[in-house]
């Protein structure tokens, strides 16, 4: 954690300015993974289309910048509102289904958005679009500086993480977790579970949209590839690798996965094979993921699997 705070300084010292950008992306993906864990690890909703919200958030930024809106706060709010709206529509339909159908329908929706991105020729279509500049934070923070953007992203991560921690412990969180555990019982107790799940889905989507806005800011580039289904898979892997239902796990998972990808791709072009082996090992031997394995205690009401 402390090391993450010092990323820009370390980056300066080592003369590898590249690291700041990399870790900005790590932090943004950590936000996305935490948002996914919120509904996956706590709500049992296996969204296989979470990259869609990254895309919506990124495109919100791109389109606003294209039309001369430069304020970061406006970017953030619009990115989150747009993602929330998309999540509301997707969730309203998807949450009528369960299990494998839910997985497939969320995937289908994200593919629709992917192809929508491809067809948006005014905004780059298949090639995507380069952004003229980064968001501007009331002239106080200049995101043209990688350091400022990094700290902004890091601050957002801390805020979202803190909100999520509270959310899962609250009454609302209890309903979400209870529904994952035994929906039939929840309904028989009087909970209209659909409404609660839908709101969780929307909150998760909005948070993921913020991550998309950060990613686009970092890369100064927006393209449909952000919404590819493999990206959604990557987010799922981050959560599984780190450990579902802990929030910490999602953050650890995104950090580990991205570093592994980076390191392994230096070693061999066939790095996905090694990554796959590592993932299988983790899932086989540390069912609660890296974070669960590191802490070795049962996180309160947060284990991924049903017992007995």
């Amino acid at each position: 954690m402390l090391l993450l705070l010092l990323v820009p300084q370390i980056s300066d010292l080592t003369g590898q300015a590249y690291y700041i950008g990399f870790f900005t992306r790590v932090v943004a993906f950590a936000i996305a993974a935490v948002s996914l864990d919120l509904i996956l690890g706590f709500g049992g909703m296996v969204s296989f289309g979470h990259a869609a919200y990254l895309g919506v958030g990124a495109y919100a930024l791109g389109i606003l910048l294209r039309h001369g809106v430069t304020n970061a706060l406006v970017h953030l709010l619009v990115a989150m509102a747009a993602s929330a709206l998309v999540a509301l529509l997707i969730g309203a339909v998807s949450l009528r289904t369960k299990g494998i159908y839910f997985i497939m329908i969320t995937l289908a929706f994200s593919q629709m958005l992917y192809y929508l991105g491809v067809s948006l020729s005014a905004y780059g279509g298949d090639d995507g679009m380069s952004l003229p500049a980064r968001s501007d934070f009331f002239g106080v923070l200049d995101f043209a500086s990688d350091t400022a953007l990094y700290y902004f992203a890091f601050g957002m991560f801390v805020i979202f993480f803190w909100i999520s921690r509270h959310l899962v412990m609250s009454r609302f969180g209890v309903v979400i977790r209870g529904t994952k555990s035994n929906e039939r019982r929840m309904i028989a107790l009087g909970y209209p579970t659909y409404r609660y799940q839908l709101l969780a889905f929307v909150i998760s989507g909005a948070m993921c949209g913020a991550a998309g806005m950060l990613l686009a800011n970092q890369a100064l580039y927006v393209s449909p590839s952000l919404m590819q289904w493999s990206r959604s898979g990557e987010l799922l892997v981050m959560v599984l690798l780190g450990g579902m239902g802990t929030l910490y796990g999602a953050a650890v998972g995104s950090l580990v996965l991205m570093i592994l990808e980076k390191l392994l791709s230096h070693v061999t072009d066939h790095w996905p094979i090694i990554l796959g082996l590592i993932l299988v090992t983790v899932v086989r031997f540390a069912k609660r993921g890296i974070f669960g394995w590191l802490t070795q205690t049962r996180p309160a009401h947060a284990n991924g699997k049903k017992d007995g």
Binding site: M169, R171, N182, I187, L189, L199, K306, D307, G308
Partner: protein, 251 residues
């Protein structure tokens, strides 16, 4: 009989040619202890599921406390005061016993669109939850994960959750099925204590329990009500004896 709390008329449910409920009429008075008995496959659980709102009937009406709830969702009925236990205990295995009851209590204390605060440590919920566990003799198991409880304890826990919701009508689907002797004695005592304070519809195989507790008994055979009456009437009813109790009249 006073105005019935539950008024069921001509309830019919078909599954591909099998008529699981065949024009069922039942009236249950407020605070009555009503038992439903019948052989396996008579449609007892189907009846309970329709009363709870988990299954939609093909025909007929269900009125609860004067309201037509035939098309009301299960969660809406729960909030009106109907609660059920399942034949296979339905608890939250990843939560501790006391948390299970807390979730039940939270359901009845307003909406849950509250996003801050540690809900399961809220004394306003924990204290009544512990009291509910005491009622079924599980207080010393409060911190054990429900998934790790013994079979009978799970049943007791579910009963305690259902009671904690303070229902007006309790639908109990074989609460003692598969229980050990000691455990069923405990549940039996609890049911006896409930009698008169809450309306109960009990589906049960154990004839001793049924005849000891019920104010009235309905006999369900092939989806039809064969007879309804006081235990002493049911015991001597010739139709019931041939169809269900067996001519030996072991009850």
């Amino acid at each position: 009989m006073a105005e019935a709390l539950l008024h069921v008329q001509n309830l019919t449910k078909r599954f591909d040619g099998l008529t699981a409920s065949d024009g069922i009429d039942i009236d249950i008075a407020d605070r009555e202890f009503h038992a439903v008995i019948g052989p396996n496959g008579a449609g007892k659980t189907t009846l309970v599921s329709q009363l709870m709102g988990e299954l939609e009937p093909d025909e007929g009406t269900i009125k609860f406390a004067g309201r037509d709830v035939t098309r009301a969702s299960a969660n809406a009925r729960a909030l009106l005061g109907i609660a059920r236990s399942f034949q296979i205990s339905s608890v939250f295995p990843e939560f501790s016993a006391i948390e299970n009851v807390s979730i039940a209590i939270q359901a009845r204390s307003g909406h849950s669109f509250r996003f801050w605060g540690d809900a399961l440590r809220d004394p306003a919920i924990c204290e009544p939850a512990l009291a509910a566990l005491e009622q079924v003799g599980l207080a010393d198991r409060a911190q054990v994960l429900a998934g790790h409880l013994a079979y009978g304890e799970k049943r007791a826990l579910e009963l305690s959750m259902v009671l904690a919701a303070r229902p007006r009508l309790l639908l109990l689907d074989e609460p003692m099925a598969g229980m050990g002797n000691q455990e069923s004695v405990r549940i039996l005592r609890l049911l006896a204590a409930l009698k008169g304070s809450v309306t109960v519809l009990l589906v049960e195989h154990d004839m001793k329990t049924v005849f000891a507790l019920a104010d009235r008994i309905s006999v369900l055979v092939y989806g039809r009500i064969l007879a309804t009456g006081r235990p002493e009437d049911i015991r001597v009813n010739q139709d019931v004896r041939t169809a269900y109790l067996g001519d030996s009249g072991s009850a």
